[in-house]
């Protein structure tokens, strides 16, 4: 069951195509990564999903029905990249205010704020003013205000920026928790290591277009480069062969790129015949970061190429 489906979404800003024909769907209960470099159109896309912008064309389905901002907004929690809170407001009041704007009544808002403040050890902050909080503290507050109304879809734009490792971990744990309890999380970032750690499914967009869509493991398989790491003590002479080329030679390991026609077994055979003692043998999958850079650079290069010719 998909909680969200986007069909050919388009949005232009005066001649510039911010989002250009993007479609994908997100499974209920998954942690979904929306990736892209700065200016790729992530924020515009998220603003359409949260009902801030109307798409120029295309369709958004929320829980299988056409997305209707006024009714569906209660089920969505959005933490924008550029966060903001009223500086002069007391923290407790501020959290209740934001919960009530989502449509909760006073008593429910109060109960929920209390529950979350206890969970994040923030009760003692209640009467503090927002301006007195450190950056990390206000980040935490912002996260809490995003999930106060128990949304089924939580959208987090760069949730870890400005957080120290301890607090980042608390929030990461909570993200897993929320997903286990059935919430769906859209996680927008350009920090790849976090995506690899947290997300099950990703979409990569660049210049308003979708570049990649799928499960992280599948994507890595698609982008693998036949690179292997062999744990063994080798001399340069032993590595002189047409079946692979050496990428990195270290004291007790070597990274090689296998030529396309060669199979793994042929490679192993080659070492065994030379009576070399192999301690380990792994395939090296590309990191998302590598894939990301490769894709983004390629698209920029082709674009440049197209312009010059």
């Amino acid at each position: 069951m998909n909680i969200l489906e986007l069909h050919s979404l388009k949005k232009d800003f005066s001649s510039q195509k911010a989002v250009d024909d993007i479609s994908f769907s997100i499974k209920k209960g998954s942690i979904f990564g929306l990736l892209g470099p700065n200016g790729a159109g992530k924020t515009t896309l998220l603003r359409m999903i949260t009902g801030i912008f109307h798409p120029d064309s295309g369709e958004i389905l929320f829980n299988g029905k056409k997305f209707h901002a006024i009714d569906d907004i209660i089920n969505i929690g959005y933490m924008p990249e550029e966060r903001g809170l009223y500086k002069k407001m007391k923290i407790g009041e501020h959290a209740i205010y934001l919960a009530r704007l989502k449509g909760m009544n006073k008593a429910d808002a109060m109960a929920s704020v209390k529950k979350w403040f206890v969970k994040f050890e923030m009760e003692s902050w209640w009467n503090k003013k927002v301006e007195d909080l450190s950056k990390g503290m206000s980040q935490k507050l912002q996260f809490v205000t995003t999930i106060l109304h128990n949304p089924s879809l939580i959208i987090l734009d760069e949730p870890f920026s400005g957080l120290d490792p301890v607090n980042a971990n608390i929030i990461k744990e909570e993200i897993f928790n929320l997903a286990n309890n059935g919430a769906t999380i859209i996680f927008s970032t350009h920090r790849m290591e976090q995506v690899e750690e947290i997300c099950t499914q990703i979409v990569l967009i660049n210049k308003g277009k979708k570049m990649l869509d799928g499960n992280i493991q599948d994507i890595k398989q698609d982008f693998k480069d036949n690179i292997f790491k062999i744990g063994a003590n080798l001399t340069p002479e032993q590595l002189m062969t047409p079946i692979f080329e050496v990428i990195k030679h270290e004291k007790d390991s070597v990274q090689i790129k296998l030529s396309k026609e060669t199979t793994n077994n042929e490679l192993l055979n080659y070492f065994i015949q030379q009576q070399i003692n192999i301690e380990s043998f792994n395939e090296v999958l590309p990191s998302l970061n590598d894939i990301f850079i490769k894709l983004v650079e390629n698209s920029t290069a082709t674009r440049k190429f197209n312009i010059t010719h």
């Binding site: 801030i52 959005y78 924008p80 550029e82 966060r83 903001g84 809170l85 205010y97 704007l101």
Partner: protein, 429 residues
């Protein structure tokens, strides 16, 4: 609608709970009340307390007696003393001052007032007027003219203006009407500028703080804008209501605090001191004005003017960034018609039926200020109706237009949009 009221109440309470709000709302009327009380007190205490002045009449100008109708000063003639000898004694005898009339000098420097501390202007003025009156009377008598006859002959005319309206004739108090009109116009002008710029600053704060994006993912931009405008407007109304209540309390409390004063006012006659007569006139003048009509119009024009301009201010606030200079450039064209309204108002209080005044009080961008400047005068029914109607229409029109500029502007960061772009936002769906 429900969400507008949540936003409204936040905007309202956050301002009303501020110390500066209490200070201006309660402080200003208290200061005015203090002045009022001080004036009354002084005018009462003057007539109460008799000032005793010793007189050494070396020239024997008065023959031992001064005819004195002004009962605040009592003269006592001292005999067998010279200036030099009495200077040392008069304080001991219980006088604050003594008047010395020298024998030989001319009338111009014949009189000297010796006092323990510098004498007040009013004291000197009253003594002068008593002396002049007496001297004149003596001179007139010596020429065989009856002083009372002379007074009757030289009496100056004074005009009483009676207004004949449908509710019957009544006395007009031109100065009071002028003052009330001017103050009403000034108040509307100030409230529009103060609360309008508050709306603008609030919107800019939300934008630069980036809270706008959080809130707009929960409510529609229009709801956020209206909640803010209405909340700040409610603050203005609260301030206005508190002022009215304090004003009424003040009026009601005067008879209890100063019972003699009211007595004097009701018997105001030529013998009362000038201050009392002036105050009596003010109170009579105020009660002759159609106060409910003025308060009602004030409320309407404040709301109409504020709502029209607040939405424009909100739109301006939504397109600027932190750059203050940028904001000023954009605010200036908005302030222009308000200032123009103020200028026309200063003319309208003098000449309420001039073409400029009539135009200014109907044109919706200046009407709230200019109409209040004419409010104490009789305004034809069609002018009021047209003016109010246009104000409502312009409020709806500007809210509709500016709502769309706001919607786009509040989420735009970076470069300030051009006028052309803003007009495009305003008229696209």
């Amino acid at each position: 609608m429900n969400k507008i009221s949540i936003i409204l109440s936040r905007e309202y309470f956050i301002r009303v709970k501020k110390k500066s709000f209490l200070l201006t709302t309660i402080g200003i009327p208290l200061i005015i009340m203090g002045f009022y009380a001080a004036i009354i007190y002084i005018s009462l205490s003057e007539s109460d307390e008799k000032q005793k002045i010793a007189v050494i009449d070396e020239a024997n100008l008065f023959g031992g007696k001064i005819d004195n109708h002004q009962n605040s000063i009592e003269f006592k003639f001292i005999k067998n003393e010279t200036v030099d000898s009495y200077i040392k004694k008069y304080k001991k005898d219980g006088y604050q001052s003594f008047l010395f009339i020298s024998k030989d000098s001319s009338i111009k420097d014949k009189f000297q007032l010796h006092s323990s501390s510098s004498a007040s202007i009013t004291t000197i003025e009253s003594i002068e007027s008593i002396i002049n009156k007496t001297v004149r009377a003596k001179k007139l008598l010596s020429k065989g003219i009856d002083p009372e006859e002379f007074d009757r002959m030289t009496q100056e005319a004074s005009i009483t203006n009676t207004i004949d309206s449908e509710d019957g004739s009544k006395k007009s108090f031109a100065e009071i009407s002028y003052a009330v009109s001017f103050v009403c116009g000034l108040l509307i002008y100030m409230m529009m500028v103060i609360y309008g710029t508050q709306v603008m600053r609030g919107v800019t704060e939300e934008k630069t703080n980036r809270i706008a994006e959080v809130i707009i993912s929960s409510v529609k931009p229009f709801e956020l804008m209206m909640g803010k405008i209405l909340g700040i407007g409610a603050v203005g109304l609260t301030q206005f209501a508190i002022w009215i209540v304090l004003m009424i309390l003040m009026q009601l409390s005067i008879p209890f605090i100063f019972p003699e004063f009211m007595h004097q006012v009701s018997n105001a006659s030529s013998s009362s001191s000038e201050n009392v007569t002036m105050l009596a006139n003010t109170i009579q003048g105020l009660s002759s004005l159609p106060l409910t009509k003025i308060a009602g119009s004030f409320l309407f024009y404040f709301l109409g003017g504020y709502l029209t301009y607040a939405s424009i201010f909100a739109a301006v606030g939504s397109v600027v960034s932190e750059d203050q200079q940028e904001a000023q450039q954009l605010v200036f064209p908005v302030l222009m018609p308000i200032i123009l309204g103020f200028v026309i108002m200063t003319k309208a209080v003098n000449d309420p039926n001039s073409n400029l005044a009539i135009f200014g009080s109907i044109f919706p961008l200046t009407s709230p200020i200019v109409m209040m400047g004419r409010i104490t005068y009789d305004i034809p029914f069609w002018q009021i109706t047209l003016s109010m109607l246009l104000l409502v229409v312009s409020f709806l029109f500007f809210t509709w237009i500016t709502g769309k500029i706001y919607r786009t502007g509040i989420l735009m960061y970076g470069k300030k949009p051009s006028w052309k772009e803003m007009i495009k936002w305003a008229f696209t769906k």
